[in-house]
């Protein structure tokens, strides 16, 4: 094997991933989290194939079969309109996970950049401006802030995502700020400065790769929380509108019928629990994985 090809991309990347897997797989909970997350993503992506009654996610009415308890034909029972709850849950996974992905895809890069820039220019005007801004947003509980923003806009999925994104970037800014201020003292950063490097290179090429581990960990842990906030928004009617299925709406609609038609609420709630648990376990295991790596 040619030395050059084997060393390309800083090998041993394969070996590094192999080592990572070795440590990751030692914890059963990590595997559980990974399996759960993988299963949920798979179900969301392949919803039309997995859901037994895909059309029930849309405008369907079948009063003959309404309010049936869980059975072999309807694993989670049917709702007041006769729609299969299980299929609706599978389809609801799509908007739920989408919310998590979209919110984080926007909030994380923006927040991290803001935090890194403020941290690099610690003590300057830019630092003060960004830090004050993040402090303001961080002072308000995210759910309240999201509710306020969402209620000012037309209720739909997109605006719900916007509402959460607006509040969420600040956490990453705070995280990145702390890391940037400690990285400022590293010799390799000083070396780059002494050679005349510009701030864009230093912030994004030198500092950012060193911040990825905690950010990735937080992102994974956040997916669960973002999803819960999204469910809370749709619970009060500020998210995905009917007839599109949404876990929060399903819970709020079914709440009226507790405890007799318990399946209307319990199954969507369980689903949320599984989502949050899986991503929490995954995030925890990332945190352990990255911390042991640093110890080497």
């Amino acid at each position: 094997m040619n030395i050059r090809t084997s060393h390309r991309r800083g090998i041993p990347l394969k070996e590094r991933m192999g080592q990572g897997w070795y440590r990751f797989s030692r914890s059963k909970l990590s595997i559980l989290g990974l399996a759960g997350a993988a299963l949920l993503v798979f179900a969301a992506v392949f919803a039309p194939i997995i859901a037994p009654y895909p059309h029930h996610a849309g405008k369907v009415v079948d009063f003959a079969n309404a309010n049936q308890p869980p059975s072999l034909q309807n694993l989670c029972g049917t709702d007041t309109m006769g729609r299969d709850v299980f299929s609706r849950i599978i389809y609801a996974l799509r908007s739920t996970l989408l919310m998590g992905v979209v919110v984080l895809s926007v909030a994380v890069p923006f927040g991290t950049s803001m935090g890194l820039i403020a941290g690099y220019f610690q003590g300057s005007l830019i630092d003060s401006l960004i830090t004050r801004l993040t402090d303001i947003f961080l002072a308000i509980p995210p759910l309240i802030l999201a509710l306020v923003v969402a209620s000012l806009l037309k209720p739909n999925l997109l605006n719900a995502m916007l509402a959460i994104t607006v509040t969420w970037w600040t956490w990453y800014a705070r995280l990145a700020y702390g890391m940037a201020t400690s990285l400022n003292r590293e010799y390799y950063i000083r070396s780059a400065q002494l050679s005349g490097a510009g701030w864009i290179h230093i912030v994004f090429r030198e500092m950012l790769p060193n911040c990825l581990s905690p950010i990735l960990t937080k992102m994974t842990l956040d997916i669960g929380i973002v999803i819960m906030i999204g469910a809370a928004l749709s619970f009060v009617g500020l998210g995905e509108q009917p007839p599109a299925p949404s876990l929060g709406t399903m819970i709020s609609d079914g709440a009226k019928y507790m405890p007799t038609q318990w399946w209307l609420t319990v199954f969507p709630a369980l689903t949320i629990m599984i989502i949050v648990l899986s991503f929490n376990l995954l995030g925890d295991s990332f945190r352990d994985l990255f911390s042991t790596e640093e110890k080497k």
Partner: protein, 332 residues
């Protein structure tokens, strides 16, 4: 066994489980320490000297596997350290052996005062020896221990926290903890390396004095030949988990035999200003896939066929000087 012998290590092998397999660090280490003797273990980073010390006190990583024998003489009887159970081992650590670490800052617990830490060591020792004690007698011993290491104002130091003291003082406290109670064997892992050279000099002289006045045996691990020259009666040179040469201090420096010893001596900058040798070609041993035969052969300028195939055994050159090198092997 020799009546004056305290410790006898025979064919110690240690390997660790890692991702890529097993890392075979120590490979047939054998050496002895007599009562009152000062032994220096010298080697560069990664040669296994710290692993050797840890193996002696049985504080290796849980995934380490050891084979071979470590015989320790207590009350005239030889006991294999690895055959001891947990209680016997604890007793050994409380009464017979103690260790001084390289970095005194991390060896001391920052949330307890110096007095609390020394007292706990003293109490553990007295409990193990089943002697009675009182708060006052323990404090007295602690004060005496600090005075033994020439720390001024011991009472004030006992009340202080480690962060309030300098690096040199912290190292003295670690030494005090080790010699506060009567021990027979002191292990030191590069003491003073993290300190300034003038302070290191003081620390080494202090350890020397204490060891001699208390009649303790002493194993000093260091990467500096100059340091062991000042403090040891005998020196073992380690490379790649093996002992390549051992001799009395004067003999080792007067006539180094092993190619690695010679290369190492040539690399040390001399005060006379004669320049520094080029360094030793090659890289440190890969313990997962170590070289066959002599572990030094890939870097040795005098290697020949036997070196690549057969592991050299120690050859006695007389007067306690032994070399593990085929250049000196009798016979073929």
């Amino acid at each position: 066994m020799n009546a004056g012998r305290l410790l006898s290590v025979e064919n110690l092998d240690v390997d660790f489980g890692v991702y890529r397999g097993r890392s075979r660090v120590l490979n047939g280490i054998s050496f002895n320490v007599d009562k009152g003797e000062k032994l220096g273990l010298v080697g560069e980073t990664g040669c296994g000297k710290t692993t050797t010390l840890r193996a002696l006190m049985r504080v290796l990583d849980p995934n380490a596997r050891c084979s071979g024998k470590i015989l320790y003489t207590i009350a005239g009887q030889d006991k294999d350290i690895y055959a001891m159970n947990a209680a016997e081992m604890l007793h050994l650590r409380r009464t017979e052996m103690s260790m001084i670490f390289q970095d005194p800052t991390s060896a001391l617990n920052p949330v307890f005062t110096v007095g609390e830490q020394i007292s706990s060591v003293i109490r553990a020792n007295l409990v193990a020896k089943q002697e009675s004690f009182s708060k006052n007698s323990v404090t007295e011993k602690a004060v005496k221990a600090l005075a033994d290491v020439f720390l001024p104002d011991p009472e004030r130091i006992l009340e202080s926290y480690p962060f309030q003291l300098s690096g040199g003082m912290r190292q003295r406290i670690c030494i005090a903890m080790s010699v506060a109670t009567e021990r027979n064997l002191l292990l030191a892992d590069e003491p003073g390396t993290s300190l300034d050279v003038t302070i290191q000099d003081q620390i080494l002289r202090l350890i020397n004095t204490l060891v001699e006045t208390k009649g303790m045996s002493f194993i000093l691990v260091s990467h500096s030949l100059g340091v062991v020259r000042k403090t040891s009666d005998r020196i073992c040179i380690m490379y790649g988990g093996t002992i390549v040469e051992s001799a009395r201090t004067a003999d080792l420096f007067a006539s180094p035999r092993h190619p690695y010893t010679r290369a190492l001596l040539a690399c040390v900058p001399k005060l006379g200003g004669a320049g520094i040798a080029e360094g030793i070609p090659g890289e440190m041993v890969n313990y997962i896939n170590p070289p066959a035969g002599c572990r030094f052969h890939p870097r040795c300028t005098q290697a020949f066929r036997a070196c690549r195939e057969i592991q050299p055994r120690p050859v006695a050159l007389g007067d306690g000087h032994a070399v593990s090198c085929h250049l000196y092997a009798t016979g073929s």
